[in-house]
């Protein structure tokens, strides 16, 4: 240990990252305050509404009961929603895999990568429900429009996720195969796909969870059938909160099972 020499504390230099973070936090805070003044409540008495919500929540969670559908109909509805989620995940994965190969920078040409990435960014920017409604014009409301619309968004998401997983593959091992005279297909089949496989699986599973949720939403907002549609009817048509409770439990049970499986697989990385 050397004895101290300089006796006054130097000034602290400017830190861009911390300054920006503080700025963002303040900005979001101000936006939120503004948001509260702009948030219209449709003339509902807030105190009444909150106490009503408390009542409704109690009914929903503690006294669920089916009324307009039978148990087997509920199961079929749940099956339809799961089926929609599953199909669009499979389609999304197939398309996603192909186009991700065309957009991962370490295996695809730059021009193609830019093209595919730009295109998928736009596809992802459009909310799924609007995709479904667009397809519904030519295919009619129903499972065809739902599957097509959801597939678009699902594929857009998986292209990005897969491409990032491919790009994370060790450049050295690709170089090693290239040095050995392997062609593009060899590299994709022997290095890129096997190395990225755990990531691909966890992304796909994550997307299945999202697609299941989306399938509920499409039933409610875009006439895609399934449990979402049943909920929409219970909420807007029959005004039956107890039946809503039954549907909510059905969704919760399936989603929690999926979550448990995902935690078991737990190779899932954080996604950005």
């Amino acid at each position: 240990m050397t004895p101290p020499t300089q006796m006054s504390l130097p000034r602290r230099p400017f830190d861009r990252s911390i300054a920006l973070m503080r700025f963002i936090v303040v900005l979001l805070f101000v936006l939120t305050l503004y948001g509260f003044t702009a948030l219209e409540t449709g003339g509902v008495n807030m105190a009444d509404a909150w106490s009503m919500l408390a009542d409704n929540a109690a009914t929903l969670f503690f006294r669920p009961a089916l009324a307009n559908v039978t148990v087997s109909e509920l199961l079929v509805s749940l099956g339809v929603t799961i089926g929609l989620g599953f199909l669009t995940t499979v389609f999304g994965a197939v398309i996603g895999f192909g186009l991700a190969l065309a957009s991962a920078l370490n295996i695809a040409p730059v021009w193609l990568s830019v093209l595919v990435k730009g295109f998928t960014a736009i596809v992802r920017a459009i909310p799924t429900v609007l995709w479904v409604l667009i397809f519904a014009v030519s295919a009619g409301l129903g499972s065809v429009a739902a599957v097509l619309g959801m597939t678009f968004h699902s594929a857009g998401y998986l292209i990005k996720a897969y491409a990032e997983s491919f790009e994370d593959v060790d450049a050295g091992s690709i170089e090693a195969l290239r040095a050995g005279g392997a062609d593009w297909w060899h590299i994709v089949g022997q290095v890129v796909t096997p190395s990225a496989m755990p990531a691909l699986i966890s992304w796909t599973f994550l997307r299945f969870e999202i697609n299941f949720s989306t399938a509920i939403a499409m039933g409610a907002a875009a006439g895609a059938g399934g449990i979402g549609f049943d909920m929409f009817m219970a909420s807007g048509f029959y005004l039956n909160i107890r039946e809503m409770g039954a549907f909510t439990y059905a969704i919760l049970i399936f989603a929690v099972i999926m979550e448990l499986i995902a935690t078991r697989l737990q190779t899932r990385q954080t996604h950005r």
């Binding site: 409540t41 799924t128 409604l133 014009v137 030519s138 097509l148 807007g236 809503m244 969704i251």
Partner: protein
């Protein structure tokens, strides 16, 4: 011979997985009554129809100010819901994370709450909330808040446990009070991730807000629904253009922020 067996078995396993997925897909097609042929036919049909009808024309441009106003309304709802949920979520995550919880019971309660709020879809929350709050922006705000809250609690609990367990131990060893441990170690360590997740949820919630808007009769989603149902496809397509621009803009801004903050 053994390695050969191993390779064969591996190939067999992969084949079985694919076969399983294929069968499950077939079952899904049957259950959802998805018409595969019609599906394939619909894509070119939709493309032709879109190119003929689904583009903004001059007349629809007159509606642009209204569309932008509704877009702004939706953006504000999404941002407000996200920030509030992120803040409350952070508090609950601190109570629930293994490294900071006051008692293990808090962990179980936090996890259960997070799971409940996150796993019920935002559309389902909207439908539930409609019962008590009616068709208003506030209903949408609450629905987005619930789902974001659940997501944030779960993600931040993981972040706290992964990134600050070490420093929490060190500060405890100096005799720091529990609140000082949180402000001096947990918050500085998790802040970048926290900001990053918040931005991510803002991006997600702008899209969700469109869906919620259709259900609660507010914002840009409702406007699209009105144009769509009145067959005013030019105006509806303009809505989509505005959404795409808004989402891409916010995505690129938040990516830029993330690059600096996470460095």
């Amino acid at each position: 011979m053994r390695s050969f067996d191993f390779l064969m078995r591996q190939r067999l396993a992969v084949g079985l997985v694919f076969l399983g997925i294929l069968i499950a897909s077939y079952v899904a097609v049957v259950v959802t009554e998805y018409d595969v042929v019609k599906g394939f036919q619909s894509i070119p049909k939709a493309v032709i129809w879109s190119s003929e009808n689904f583009y903004p024309d001059e007349k629809s441009l007159k509606r642009l100010p209204k569309i932008i106003a509704k877009m702004q309304e939706t953006l504000v709802t999404a941002v407000t819901a996200t920030t509030c949920a992120a803040f409350v979520g952070f508090l609950v995550a601190i109570l629930g994370a293994n490294a900071t919880r006051p008692h293990w019971v808090f962990s179980i309660v936090s996890r259960a709450i997070a799971s409940l709020f996150r796993n019920v879809d935002v559309s389902a929350w909207s439908l539930i909330l409609l019962f008590s709050f009616g068709q208003s922006m506030f209903t949408g705000y609450l629905a987005l808040f619930f789902v974001t809250f659940g997501f944030m609690v779960r993600m931040l609990m993981e972040t706290i446990d992964l990134s600050s367990a070490d420093t929490i131990e060190a500060l405890r060893a100096t005799g720091a009070s529990p609140s000082a441990v949180i402000t001096q170690s947990v918050i500085p360590t998790c802040m970048p991730q926290f900001v990053s997740w918040t931005l991510f949820m803002i991006e997600t919630n702008i899209r969700s807000a469109t869906l919620v808007g259709i259900l609660t009769g507010t914002g840009i989603g409702n406007l699209f629904d009105i144009y769509y149902k009145s067959l005013n496809y030019h105006a509806a397509s303009l809505v989509i253009v505005v959404i795409v621009i808004a989402v891409l803009l916010i995505e690129s801004v938040s990516n830029a922020i993330r690059r600096v903050v996470l460095q």
